[in-house]
């Protein structure tokens, strides 16, 4: 193992780089001060109040004050702004004459996260100011403040976000992608470690060292990687919990056991792939293809619930989905072992998959008669 630098790269360097990347890349938690533009055709005290308040929020910041709709559109198409607000002519006059003028705002959806956050913030700011105008009129009429407030806004919504009180977006991504890439590496490493024996033709010697018992040989070959990759995943979990401050409600040991089981499950899938396609390069390409689709299908970026019914069964082909469920159950919902036993069960089920192809691995190892490219 130590002879080929690629092993060092796969087991230590790549996981370390992945941890480093995710620990530093999303450190801001939530996007802030995103540039937007305003077209103020009215230029009155109320319209200026709106412009000021748009900048006061956390998410967006008025970066350009433009004079035409067209220039805003161009700014958006060149990618300088994410949204713009248009305040019409005679805005204040219409306001006093009970004509209910419209304030239009435009966002784009090419930046999904930024677009949704900005839209929500602009909507809130504009509604709050509208309520403020209403409130001012009522106070001027001599209503009591609390009374007026309740009249203006009869139903208040209190948002409680369990576990993720700051609504840290990095948490949604990092918690599964970071271990996910390490799992992917574990699978690729398994394919590589077995495939290289076939490729250089040293598999017969490998079997002899393993007392001609294929199970013993495979275990001896793959266990060091199981240990290494499990340690790496556990390290990433500890970093997420202790340094990045992600929620941890349940017993972390459960998650650590889950991490070891997921590494084993991915190694099992690696064995299945190399067992079916003994040519190293083809097997690696297929393993990479299979593994990368897993990030889409695991359901942490795009919920399982929203997928097509025809697609849903395929998500069970991925240990990553079970790991994601386990993470949610243990770290976010704080369930105990017996309440979250199903993901464990599925993960262990994966380990039986190589039994289907183990004869083919042995046959290839002895005869080396697969189709080379």
């Amino acid at each position: 193992m130590t002879r080929r630098p690629i092993y060092l790269m796969m087991t230590i360097i790549i996981p370390a780089l992945v941890i480093l990347f995710f620990a530093t890349f999303l450190n801001q938690g939530m996007p802030s001060s995103l540039p937007i533009a305003v077209v103020d055709f009215d230029n009155s005290s109320t319209s200026r109040l709106i412009v000021r308040n748009l900048s006061a929020g956390q998410t967006c910041k008025v970066k350009y004050k433009l004079t035409s709709y067209e220039s805003c559109k161009t700014k958006m198409q060149t990618g300088d702004i994410y949204a713009f607000v248009v305040i019409p002519r005679n805005f204040e006059k219409d306001l006093h004459n009970h004509k209910s003028p419209q304030v239009n705002f435009h966002t784009e959806y090419a930046h999904y996260l930024a677009g949704s956050l900005i839209m929500k913030e602009i909507q809130t700011t504009l509604t709050t100011i509208a309520a403020g105008v209403d409130l001012k009129v009522r106070l001027a009429k001599g209503q009591d403040y609390n009374m007026a407030m309740a009249q203006v806004n009869p139903i208040k919504t209190d948002m409680h976000i369990i576990g993720n009180s700051m609504l840290n977006y990095s948490f949604y991504l990092t918690s599964t992608i970071m271990p996910g890439i390490i799992f992917l590496m574990a699978m690729i490493c398994t394919v590589y470690a077995i495939g290289i024996e076939f490729k250089v033709g040293s598999s017969q010697r490998w079997l002899i060292i393993g007392k001609r018992d294929i199970v013993l040989s495979l275990a001896g070959k793959l266990l060091p990687y199981t240990v290494l990759f499990s340690l790496m995943v556990i390290l990433s979990e500890v970093i997420m919990e202790k340094i990045m401050g992600f929620p941890s409600k349940g017993d972390p040991t459960l998650l650590y056991i889950g991490a070891v089981l997921t590494v084993l499950a991915y190694q099992a899938m690696g064995m299945v792939i190399i067992g079916l396609l003994p040519s190293l390069r083809t097997a690696l390409s297929i393993a990479a293809f299979y593994g990368v689709i897993g990030f889409t299908l695991a359901g942490f970026t795009y919920p399982h619930f929203a997928m097509l019914n025809a697609v849903k069964p395929y998500t069970y082909l991925y240990p990553l989905r079970q790991y994601y469920m386990l993470y949610c159950n243990v770290q976010i919902n704080g369930l105990s072992f017996w309440d979250t036993v199903m993901p464990f069960f599925y993960l262990i089920l994966f380990d039986f998959a190589p039994l289907l192809v183990i004869w083919n691995i042995k046959r290839t190892a002895v005869k080396l008669d697969y189709e080379r490219d």
């Binding site: 690629i6 790269m9 790549i14 992945v18 530093t24 890349f25 801001q28 001060s33 540039p35 198409q77 990618g79 994410y82 009970h98 003028p101 419209q102 304030v103 239009n104 705002f105 784009e108 959806y109 090419a110 930046h111 999904y112 996260l113 930024a114 929500k120 809130t124 209403d134 009129v137 309740a150 139903i155 208040k156 919504t157 209190d158 948002m159 409680h160 977006y169 992917l184 590496m185 690729i188 390069r281 083809t282 390409s285 990479a288 293809f289 593994g291 990368v292 689709i293 889409t296 299908l297 359901g299 795009y302 919920p303 619930f305 929203a306 997928m307 097509l308 976010i332 919902n333 490219d373």
Partner: protein
Amino acid sequence: MSINSRLRRNLRENGKAWLDMFYILRKELYGIFTDKGTLIIFFVATLVYPLVCGYVYNKEMMRDAPIAVVDNNHSSLSRQYIRMLNATPEVSVAYHAMNMEEAKSLQKKGKIHGIVNIPKEFSSDINSGKQATVNIFADVTSFFWYRNLATASAYVSRTMGYGIEAKNLIARGSTYNEAMSSIRPYIPQEQTLFQIGGYPSFMLPIICIILLQQTILLGIGVLAGKHSERNRFRNITPNNIHYRGIFRIIFGRLLAVFIVYIPISIYVLIIVPHFFNIPQLYTSPIEVLTFIIPFLLASILLGMTCSVFFHHRENAIPFFIFMSIPILLMSGLSWPRESMPDFWRSFSYLFPSTFAANGFVRMGTMGANLMEISKEHLSLWILTAVYLVTTFFAYRWRLTTIWLQTGTQDKKSRKHQSRFNRLKLNEGRF
């Protein structure tokens, strides 16, 4: 020696450079189409992957996320609130829980993804003119659950609040118009400037661009590894008289992959989005192609620069696979560019996909023309130039180390050597 004679000598020596280049081009194309691993990466992956992603992200918006309601009030007002919540496209009330404990245990089991708790004094507060509060508990296991519940509950509270306020005002003798303008002095209105798309319209074009770049990098890495394994002296070029100048090797290889990727790009960037009905607002596909040419060139040259480090066919695969997801995040589309740490933002400029994804997405979703994405277009040409230089030095380094090792550093003897080797190779074959 006069300039004229020098030029003449140069011409005499390099006059066949074009022919050499086309020879290399033909050889490389042959190499691509006869190698199973490269075929999988170049054709099967680009053919299948966008289709799989398109089918997974089939629904534009996530509708009717299941939530539970805890109604402690049991009045007509609280029931109205729940009905309105159920009617929103974002959520649907799946369970009426008796108390918070029941609702929380449902959430833990994953049956529901959000809880709305209506307090006991909800209707009495509203009727006595006090402000009533509704408590929302969002599920944090995915951003989508939070987004849907927050949008729906804010909308329902606002709309129902307007109704209550209007009723109160009219009861006190305001006219309908006065009441309406008092409640909403002005109307915040979201306008659709361009076609609104959901998550798939956002995600698929980015995935397509990154897929193109990553398959190019992978494929070239695998091809170079193959050359390293097969050729004499572990060289990245065959020992062949046509492969005697660095530039003819670079341009020959560049053109080979480029020719292969033109139809693939048309399929991945134009036909696939069309197939999945993803908004494509650009005026003509020619504009997309014009924009994508420097992206392909820069990606291929980046791949060729990196490829000198791969001595085996397989080594490129783990290396490029793990990078795909960080590259996706660094494109600045899913996570806004303004919020990235400076180091990673600068780092992201090394990848052609960063500029290409931004430009292509703006062409598709906002109908930007080539003028409006000229910044990205220019950056891609600059990257092409930069990677051409790095490829030159990388190839020179790899080739000269080998020429030095084999003792064929001077040009003339190298020529003889390779001719000699070619003859020997032919002898071996026959």
